[in-house]
Amino acid sequence: MMEELAKEHGLSADEYQRILDELGREPSLCELGVLSVMWSEHCSYKSSRVHLKKLPTTGPQVVQGPGENAGAVDIGGGLAAIFKMESHNHPSFIEPYQGAATGVGGILRDVFTMGARPIGNLNSLRFGNINHPKTKHLFHGVVGGIAGYGNCVGVPTVGGEVYFDDCYNGNILVNVFTVGVAKIDRIFKGSATGPGNPVFYVGAGTGRDGIHGATMASEQFDEGSEDKRPTVQVGDPFREKLLIEACLELMETGAIIGIQDMGAAGLTSSSVEMADRGGTGLRLVIEDVPMREEGMNAYEVLLSESQERMLVVIAQGREEEVGRVFSKWELEWAKIGEVTDTGRFEVVHHGKVECDLPVSVLTSSAPVYDRPQSEPARIREAQPAKVEPTADLFGDLVQLLGAPNICSRRVIYEQFDHMVGLGTVLGPGSADAAVLRIPGTNRAIAAAVDVNSRFVYLNPYEGTKLAVAEVTRNVACTGAKPLGTTDCLNFGDPTNPEIMWEFAEAIRGMAEACLALDAPIVGGNVSLYNASAGKDIFPTPTLGCVGAFESESFITCGSRVRTVDDLVALVGV
């Protein structure tokens, strides 16, 4: 029976056998739930890990590479830019407004978790054909959700990109990016150290929403998937705003040992990851978790993906500071457990042990696959398209400028508050990258997100190199020096060897370009199974880049023609 249940949890027969071997016994239902989310593609990167290892991730400017909640680069003046990009594709297809909104919420938490005040959001969106019957609804929902969340938390949405293509008809992409700034010597990590230290839960209460969202994000869409509805969560940007302020205030007190947001797979992945990084164990008491629904069991509490929650390890003796700060900000908080030296993830509910697993089984023992690859036939068969010039070049130009993939994005970015925070020197529509100054200093950064997935489809290796080149060039055009990149790798079904080949080739190109341009990858996200009705999307490795200015005075004027008689020069090959 357990085997059947394991299958329902998305674990293969092999994977289940591996669990039996590791544990020497059958897991409990609760343990099975925990194992399934930790071993899901979303948390374990089981299909991508072998490839991601090949990316360049170091450099003198790198303050924090992959492995933490977000990456960080040194922008001078004792400051670090902390940034990350994440996908919320599948939830946004099912419920565009809330899917996109909670995507923004999640990426913000990844960044302020590290001690950075978020100063800018960007996004990269892909929709189906503009005339497809679903596109309009999805488009308005996603743009509305990004606006609704970002505007309310008071982080400006300063740039992004939007493309329409048939390949996204049944599987849109919503990639969201946040950058924040922190003092280099005040960066916080998601690590649980010091056995005996209390573990606190802060933020909104836990409900039954989003249970199994993490597994859902790794499953392919099929006809019935629009019915898998309760897995979508509702975001509360108001509470997130309070959470940002409260966490930043608590960080000032020095009471925090480690802090981590509860993202996909909620309480489970956050506590397991914290114990794993700290080389410790964690013991949680379910009935102490703030809940907003009655009668929730351990399984539900562990797997809930309720939004706007954080896990914090506090130095023993500093407990009352948590209460002081979080009560002031009108947020819920509770001590829900402590750090142990057992190396185990233990969960008790009313005295009953619901889960007792070695942390290592959940993390390092998770399966890793080097899946088979094969080059798709289209790569060699592709022929250059023939475009015949017409007599009416002006007419063609007008038509091009009005095309959905080229026309003005004003209707989108005017719905985003792109000025709050007084940082936006060059906002959407004014340059190839967003430029944000850091008030109170003479420093500024630039950030951009880019990829042309059609190029990547035609040649994953060259196309991804181009994406890295484009995103760093867009940053450089504003006068900033590109320092680091983050990626969001949206691909199809990894069990299809052709998709895996696309993936490996894209990584090869990305590695080469990032190395050549000295823009190491400091963080990233992988989203697989982007397919509907057996049809995969174009491989879409979205790149985000952050660069810095030595001084505000190096900011160029953006991409606008200024005055009559200005010189126009063409630079490059």
Binding site: I94, Q98, D209, R229, P230, V232, F238, R292, Q307, E330
Partner: protein, 80 residues
């Protein structure tokens, strides 16, 4: 003139942030209330039609536009 009323709330288990905030506000004013849910009401006026016709039509509207079944539940009330 026949009228239909659609009452829309977040589904059970789906978080209702507005309700939570209103609850807090009422408490601050000294009111004792167990829980608050905030939803939408849509009143539709028709030129004509029997209750059955209107009910069928409004149900269709709910499916097509008015309600987001992923997170919302609804009730239709017909008045003549």
């Amino acid at each position: 003139m026949p009228r239909a009323r659609v009452l829309i709330h977040n589904r059970k288990g789906v978080f209702d942030p507005a309700g939570k905030v209103v609850e807090g506000g009422l408490e601050r004013l000294g009111h004792q209330v167990k829980s608050v849910k905030v939803g939408k009401v849509i009143d539709l006026h028709f030129e004509s039609g029997t209750s059955e016709e209107i009910l069928a039509q409004v149900e269709k509207m709910c499916r097509e536009l008015l309600v987001n079944p992923v997170i919302e539940d609804y009730v239709v009330e017909i008045e003549e």
